[in-house]
Point group: C3
């Protein structure tokens, strides 16, 4: 258990147009996805940045971190452009690069050693849903939805959801989501223990702000060591599963099933 010694990263001026905005409020770090016109879709570069911001929140003198989105969506997940440009070395190289990026991204969630609170301000698709299994608290606006359409896209679960989802909600409910792509409302997600609490849209920001402010007054070392003792039981297993899931996804990305599904998707959008 590491109670940690924290120093504040020297502040840099906030770029309001940045894809991700990191800020310190009360005594927590907020990591805010900021591409509302693109439904907060995540580019390869953003995966790296989110990971770096999580590492920064570990070092900064903050008691916990919050992840949220700007606009109507939490995040639509993987940016379509991530698979649009095949490098000269071919799709296998792109798959291997993606595997590395994803593995590192998920590992930063597994290793985050302070409480991590997801504030799901709207619909979520793909990895923004599966990473919720690695968060400690999940608040969802009543208009939020949760969708993991892996199978129809020829893909497979990631962010350790193949392990965390069945554990949290039992296999009969988890597989409906992971294997058969059932989309959940906020209420359904809460019933299935993916979401801690559903907050009505009417006063969403105020109620979240009020809760986070209250948590900001809690003793930081207690928060940190308790988070660690809860996470440590599963940590090794989570890293092992992350490696296996990323390896399987790298295969799936260059499979006929996946290439065919993604091509159909692009053709529909024309």
């Amino acid at each position: 258990i590491d109670a940690g010694s924290s120093t504040n990263t020297p502040p840099s001026p906030v770029d309001k147009d940045a894809n991700i905005i990191y800020s310190i409020k009360h005594s927590y770090a907020e990591i805010r996805l900021n591409r509302p016109k693109k439904f907060n879709a995540i580019t390869w570069q953003m995966y790296g940045e989110i990971g770096e911001f999580l590492d920064r929140a570990r070092r900064d003198t903050v008691k916990f971190a919050v992840i949220t989105g700007t606009g109507d969506y939490y995040s639509s997940g993987n940016d379509l452009g991530n698979f649009a440009e095949i490098p000269p070395e071919g799709p296998e190289k792109m798959a291997k690069d993606g595997e590395k990026v994803l593995k590192k991204f998920v590992a930063s969630f597994i290793d985050f050693d302070k409480p991590l609170i997801a504030v799901v301000n709207g619909p979520a698709v793909g990895i923004p849903v599966t990473t919720l299994g690695l968060c400690d608290i999940v608040y969802a606006k009543d208009s939020a939805t949760f969708h993991t359409p892996f199978t129809s896209l020829g893909q497979s679960p990631e962010a350790c959801s193949s392990y965390t989802f069945p554990l949290m909600m039992g296999p009969a409910k988890a597989n409906e989501i992971l294997l058969f792509g059932k989309k959940l409302s906020a209420e359904e997600a809460c019933d299935r223990s993916l979401v801690t609490r559903v907050v009505p849209s009417g006063n969403f920001e105020e109620e979240i702000e009020s809760m986070l402010k209250k948590y900001s007054e809690l003793p930081p070392i207690s928060l940190r060591t308790s988070k660690q003792i809860i996470r440590n039981t599963h940590k090794e297993k989570l890293h092992d599963i992350n490696i296996k899931e990323c390896a399987l996804l790298a295969e799936r990305w260059i499979s006929d099933e996946c290439i065919s599904a993604i091509m159909k998707f692009f053709q529909r959008k024309k």
Copy 2:
């Protein structure tokens, strides 16, 4: 992860009076218990046949398998006749033989590497309930019930339920079922995550057919590899628990408690 190469088992004419009917519909295999007058009770021979049909569904070019029952019952479980005839070598031999049959039967569920969907068309008692913990999806008719009266019969949990049930619903709810024999309605089973969804009797067959047809259009290798990565985490543990549960049951079957309970049961039926 094994994406598998499948060949279709040469079709044999369907015997409409067979205790179990295996058929291929759309692109899935249906394993249908077919002893409606005996509430689909399972004889020693049927345990072996169900296992063989699961192996066949692994080899055939099907995307997933479905288990269901004919008539008003899903299955009343172990056929009473299974323990009626004590072999010349004595009850210990019968218990040992039963242990082997059960271990192999449960192992075929653990090793089934495509999605396995249980369609619970009516009441279920004993091992038909516990095997649900090894299925991936469970649909239940609203008139279905779920009962595991092990303790009152001097027996103990099987089909890895001693592990899967507490994980899926927490020990406080699992033990009410496994230790104290509480019978669940379909709604209660769904609340406790044993059942994915409850389907009203009115249009049960149509709704199930419609869902299975929709799933039939999903990419098969994605379905298979995702099922495997979800199952693999627990596979070794499940096999270990299966061995331990079967060994305990073999002891329980020849215990005074069990023999006494079964004799009382037969006397009541006279």
Copy 3:
């Protein structure tokens, strides 16, 4: 699996003013906290006594054990006086002694090899809540509440709750309780699988008595071996986690955060 051989501990006259009363009813052992004026708060000595009574219930010819409280509370948890007197050797000695007492207490729950039923007759705070994760059945009066304010007191989870709570209710719901001290009603605790069933206040004693009487008629060896096969899967892990949790708590007890929180608490009570 140990079916056990039991002998009855020779009966001693019941001291109606004892802090804990052990009695045998029907065919179960009842361990009743009996300090209603102190909300059944647990002194260092009582931790030891509860452990001894659990060991006694293992040896006595009883089929299961029941833990409950006298009066309006189940238990308010750790007695304030436990930390009031710092020994001559200093607070580190007190923390180490507390660590030993707690470790042994929790280990007696982990090792209890018959069904253990908690009858939560009223509000519960702290370790009376976390030990519920080591019970097999939990009945709660509708007026019961469940509160684990560890973080605000600068402390951390105990009784293996850092492991059992996330498993039973998923991390998103467990952390709201363990990290952020959310207090649960009986209904909420039942929704989250901490409680088996909520029993209305109106006929609480009669309904509980009736259920326990019914369970008293079940075969004892079946009950015992089934409880063991369910518990054994996790036993080694639970002991390991107990050791880690107690070590962390010993550090927390002498931390500035904890000392400061406890001093504030005593000052408020003046």
